[in-house]
């Protein structure tokens, strides 16, 4: 008895190991088959790591204005200042690095607020149907009747300029997308046999929603979150470009571009590098999102598994 139990765990471990190597093989295959997805993954990981450690890794203080700095105001890019310096002699490379954290914090906060609201309303809307669905979807439609950025501008103007109000405004704009995606997924999954079976044996509704339906909606959710992370970074930088989001001396990327515009076109580096940082980061999220979508598409997955 004891021996066979042990044997089965060994067998299980072995099976898991095989599965694991299969997963690894799959990941390697993806890297080989889709260099763009890999590039996206590298950019996104780089952005997250810089967002966490960036402010500690800078050689120069990104916010404080130093006495010696005044000697080097608006210095073009050189070895010591790869992105040049601003009008107070601050190192723009350090400021752009610090900006990664501002964007990361902003986008993460927006997601932490918007995704749970959207998911919860989407689950209810799709599962209960009827009047609940009708009310939730009508409200969602009203929010979607505005181009997102315009609504965010109006909201954060009402809340008063600042990073927090930009985050709240962007979260208010971004939740309806999740309602739509989750609702569509729930409508499919709730007709499946295992959900019916769970209902038949009397499993609680909340448990059906979160244990059975939500896990089966995770793929489109993941794809949307990846894309939205990029769009939120873009929208947040647009808000601070027009003077609404993070306020000085916080080095937000959009704000840096706006500040640099005063010295256009002679001091081109001032606006150029923060914008390049936005472009590369958002591109990374878009490439990764594309890749995840392709990978989760059963047709594609089967084709690489068969070749592997």
């Amino acid at each position: 008895m004891r021996w066979s139990q042990k044997g089965s765990t060994v067998l299980n471990n072995l099976r898991m190991l095989i599965q694991l190597t299969n997963e690894w093989k799959l990941i390697l295959l993806v890297i080989r088959k889709s260099p763009l997805t890999t590039a996206g993954l590298v950019i996104v990981s780089g952005f997250v790591i810089l967002g966490i450690v960036g402010p500690y890794a800078t050689l120069h203080d990104p916010i404080m204005i130093s006495v010696t700095g005044a000697l080097k105001r608006l210095h073009p890019p050189c070895l010591e200042h790869p992105f040049g310096t601003d009008e107070y002699g601050r190192d723009l490379f350090s400021r752009v690095l610090y900006g990664a954290r501002v964007s990361l914090v902003a986008a993460l906060s927006v997601m932490v607020i918007a995704v749970p609201i959207g998911v919860l309303l989407g689950l209810c809307s799709g599962y209960y149907g009827g009047i609940v669905d009708e009310v939730i979807m009508r409200i969602t439609d009203i929010f979607l009747s505005f181009p997102g950025l315009v609504l965010a501008i109006a909201l954060s103007a009402s809340l008063g300029a600042g990073l927090t109000s930009a985050i709240i405004a962007l979260a208010v704009v971004w939740w309806p997308g999740y309602v739509r995606v989750i609702r569509a997924q729930v409508l499919v999954v709730k007709e499946m046999l295992f959900v019916e079976a769970a209902r038949a044996i009397g499993v609680k509704t909340s448990k059906i929603l979160f244990r059975h339906i939500l896990p089966n909606s995770i793929t489109p959710l993941l794809v949307l979150i990846t894309f939205d992370f990029g769009s939120v970074i873009l929208a947040n930088s647009a808000l601070s470009f027009i003077g609404l989001g993070a306020q000085p001396p916080i080095p937000e990327w959009g704000r840096l571009i706006a500040d640099g515009r005063r010295w256009f076109p002679d001091k081109w580096w001032y606006s150029f590098f923060p914008g390049l940082a936005i472009l590369i980061t958002v591109l990374g999220f878009n490439l990764l999102g594309d890749g995840i979508r392709d990978m989760m598409d059963p047709r594609y997955r089967r084709s690489i598994e068969m070749k592997g």
Partner: protein, 334 residues
């Protein structure tokens, strides 16, 4: 065509609650969310006490909320969108002056987007998985990922400062007679070729910027739609029936239209919100420049006016799109 008419009536009726909902949303944003609505409407902390009293009365901010809502709806429908503390003029008068510039910019961007985006998507579909397909995808993705306001600055640097080919700011010269308020169109109408070329040069950089940021979505949708339609069963069937050439293309095109129209309607939203941000960069005197100036001088009625206008335009476009669906696809009318 009888059922089309019935469909339009039904759709109009179902759009009224959406318009009402949008107005309630702008009411909540403008009357409930600000910590001190009176001060916000009056133009911020600098407003003098007697002005604040006047504002309180003008926007009915001393009444209970439900009454404020009814008075707000009444004001919006009767064209009283408030008075801008900056220009001291009614917001709607300001908007009427600034709007043609944005309209012109949006139309030119939309045309560029369509003329470039649709062939790009078709080429990508035809050469699926080739180098060209990947290259188009990367170019389109860069457009989607780049901040429009930064792209604007980079293009200015290249084409104005470095190459000296195109003007970087302003709309050019207004033609002698004002027909539509759109300089490019008006200079054609007055028959002034030189002015037309000058104004076209002015609109080129801002419209290319806006078109480039929207290119990614339309190219992708056109590509995927074309691939789906070409490999679908009814095309096989049409081929089996012996259809060729133009007749076959008619089937392909008609069935590709709905996704393409959907994405074009969506793009108008992108172009309008992009215009808000980039008009400042090009000193383009449209509602975007007006709104950004309003944000920087705490001109709240102006900000809300522009928001409301864009919301209403967007609803109207969605309405037109829905009707276009019904005209193209009889199944929608059911």
């Amino acid at each position: 065509m009888g059922d089309i008419k019935r469909y339009i009536v039904r759709r109009t009726l179902s759009f009224l609650p959406t318009i009402l909902g949008v107005l309630v949303l702008t009411f909540v944003i403008s009357h409930i969310i600000p910590a001190d609505p009176v001060r916000v409407w009056a133009g911020g902390y600098k407003a003098r006490p007697e002005i604040i009293e006047e504002i309180r009365r003008r926007y009915h901010l001393d009444k209970p909320l439900y009454e404020q809502l009814i008075l707000y709806l009444n004001d919006v429908f009767s064209g009283n969108w408030g008075v801008s503390p900056m220009s001291k003029r009614p917001v709607l008068v300001d908007i009427a002056e600034y709007f043609p510039a944005t309209l012109e910019l949006s139309i030119v961007s939309g045309l560029l987007l369509t003329i470039i985006g649709i062939p790009m998507g078709l080429i990508a579909a035809l050469k699926k998985d080739s180098f060209i397909d990947h290259a188009i995808r990367v170019v389109a993705l860069i457009g989607t990922s780049a901040p429009a306001f930064w792209l604007a600055i980079v293009l200015q640097w290249i084409f104005y400062y470095y190459l000296g080919l195109l003007p970087a700011t302003s709309r050019g010269t207004p033609p002698s007679i004002r027909y539509t308020g759109m300089y490019v169109l008006d200079s054609i109408l007055t028959g002034d070729v030189e002015l037309f070329i000058e104004n076209l040069k002015h609109i080129l950089l801002p419209s290319v910027t806006l078109a480039f940021t929207g290119l990614g979505i339309i190219a992708r949708v056109v590509r995927n739609t074309a691939l789906d339609v070409v490999s679908s069963e009814f095309i096989d069937f049409a081929k089996a029936r012996g259809l060729q050439g133009l007749q076959l293309y008619r089937h392909i095109l008609k069935n590709s239209l709905i996704p393409v129209i959907t994405v074009l309607a969506l793009e108008i939203g992108y172009i309008l919100s992009g215009a808000i941000v980039i008009e400042t960069v090009f000193s383009w005197p449209g509602i975007g420049l007006y709104a950004v100036n309003a944000i920087n001088s705490l001109d709240y009625p102006a900000i809300m006016g522009v928001t409301l206008l864009i919301g209403l335009i967007f609803i109207f476009i969605n309405f037109i799109t829905d009707i276009a669906y019904a005209v193209i696809d009889p199944r929608v009318r059911l």
